[in-house]
Subunit: 209 residues, 4 copies
């Protein structure tokens, strides 16, 4: 009884969630640091200020997109880990790899914000869009195989959502090919995927209630 209680506490691992939320919170706020206020003369008028802000427009858009994308990943991470009764060492490490990918998000986003017509930034961004669902699939599969899911989880629906995350990876690769012909179109593709994902998040339920 005592040992079971200990093992239960040992495997619940609230620190996985604590570390992850910390990393998500920091990445969400990192990009504001990129938004340096424009250096103008001592008393600029309003028109000069608007013009200066237009000059950092791409950084403002980059901040907005990076925020929404990271928030989407947090949303999925949150939904997924709530289904588990326990996690093991391997899942801790898979989660660390996922956090590594999340930490990297500000870099290609800044690259796209600065050079929107260059395919390299979108290629790096696309790699993240491939890696995130793959790692979520790996984590979800291990929990399923090892029997770490809570008894109330609807297994049919779980398997469906897990398969969806596997389908998501190759679809995320398509815009990378497009990026070398029409980078703006490829980028719009990702923005639409993100908006779709956020909209789905409002309605999709992991459980029948």
């Amino acid at each position: 009884m005592l040992k079971e209680h200990f093992l239960d506490r040992f495997h619940r691992n609230e620190r996985l969630v604590g570390l992850s939320d910390g990393v998500f919170a920091i990445v969400l706020t990192l990009l504001v640091l990129e938004l340096r206020i424009p250096q103008l003369g001592p008393h600029p008028d309003a028109a000069a200020m608007w013009a200066a802000l237009k000059g950092i427009q791409s950084k403002l858009v980059g901040f907005l997109l990076s925020f929404l994308f990271v928030a989407s990943v947090w949303f999925s991470h949150n939904q997924l880990f709530k289904l588990f009764d326990k996690v093991d060492n391997a899942m801790l490490w898979y989660n660390n790899f996922l956090l590594l990918v999340v930490c990297f998000i500000p870099f290609p986003t800044a690259l796209i914000g600065e050079y929107p017509r260059n395919p390299v930034g979108i290629t790096l961004f696309g790699c993240i869009w491939i890696l995130v669902p793959l790692l979520i699939y790996v984590i979800g599969s291990r929990a399923y195989r090892k029997g770490y899911l809570h008894a109330s989880v609807d297994l049919k629906r779980y398997r469906f959502l897990r398969r969806m995350s596997l389908v998501y990876a190759p679809i995320s690769a398509l815009p990378i090919l497009l990026a070398w012909k029409a980078p703006t179109l490829a980028f719009l593709f990702y923005i639409l995927m993100m908006i779709g994902g956020i909209a789905a998040g409002f309605f999709v339920k992991v459980l029948e209630e």
Copy 2:
């Protein structure tokens, strides 16, 4: 019983609070990074140092105001979410949008600190003052409509405070109009609103005890 316990844990969503507190903590401390120490010669005397600090006076004031404003928003966020028994996906996303606005606060505050007589900074700052109470209203309304409030919440008082946050938004818009004639006055208006809000926070009670 087992399923209810699972759903209860599922909907409590302590991670919403964990992510939010992380974002608030980072935004609170971000502005200190803006306070670069002055670059003087090898052995400046005390008078030269005071003069140099006076030169970054506006940044010091910006740091102070930004801190108190973000702390006020955290205070309201804290009071609000303690009243809920559960949150749903839509509320998770409304909260993400609120965090987006919070993350943006350091930018207009820095703009005002650097160019205090320019109306653009105050206009952006005012937009945040409009968006924050609106988003709090949206979150509070959904919780009310969906019945997520704890059974002990005084509904009459709750409706009153919710209506207050709706009244707050247009009042926050007034100084924006003023900003184009008298920016300093408009800024003082916001400082007074903030001090009033902090003072109210000391006394207002969400519950009769």
Copy 3:
């Protein structure tokens, strides 16, 4: 019963602790950002590198001291808040003011690291040493007066420690006067006070066991 449970959850306010730990963690790691690696030629030898590191020696010392000082304040904060059964709105705000002071610590520490013989940095640093125990006294007094202490707290010992924090404030002011004659001596005074505080933290017990 239901209402009591709600009020208990309402007043426990774990978010005060969550926000505070976030701010402490960020301030603890902020100064590493100040440690920029030296810019040398393409293949510097070991001697050139040591020389370059000696050049940022004052920043390394500033990092170390700032870390230990903030860790000391966290230690006291941790010990204090564990004694409370509940906190109220006023205490939430007093704690916000304490966090404001904590967020400011990296600034004078960096100033001292850069200009160790200038009294201004030590004066600002000393103000923090005065404000921190005063705010801890104010928080501790309110909890005592309002009866928020846990029933097991040894009140005699509590009153003694509370009085100590009041004595601490004027003692912390002494080196400020010294700073204008002998800044290095004043700084050593603070370092000794900090080492003494850390050593005391190893042994002092808030409770008889």
Copy 4:
């Protein structure tokens, strides 16, 4: 009974874990700030961009290694503290010293990334590799001596792992000597030790189940 409950809450000290996770999360994401996007002309082509990214290749590798190393330390920290029923003041301070070392990790990693053939960076890096297992040994020993381990901990295995961390320290010192002859080899040594540590983390169990 009341007092026991209070002492139990007092000594559990979840804030040690909260502060530590905050520090780990920040250090994990700090290095991305070092990855500044390359400054090229207004419309660089893909080839120019790849070339520019190759120029910051060492920083990208530094980011990756720093992340994995800090994640490894977090993993050990997580495993260790889950075994304790309580912590005391001395352990709080030993943990603060451990966090101090963790906060410092980005500095030598950046140094190695910038000057991979210089022995100084590897020497500093090696010191961290010596200090981390030593501090973990000190924390683990105190918990063992004072009887803070949970009753279900397998003491024989605990003593073995504790001894391992003591053996780890001198082995970590070997590459420092190597660094002055063959810095690249010394660095590879640490990478192999880290990969070995991560692989071991997948399989090693603190408890028989």
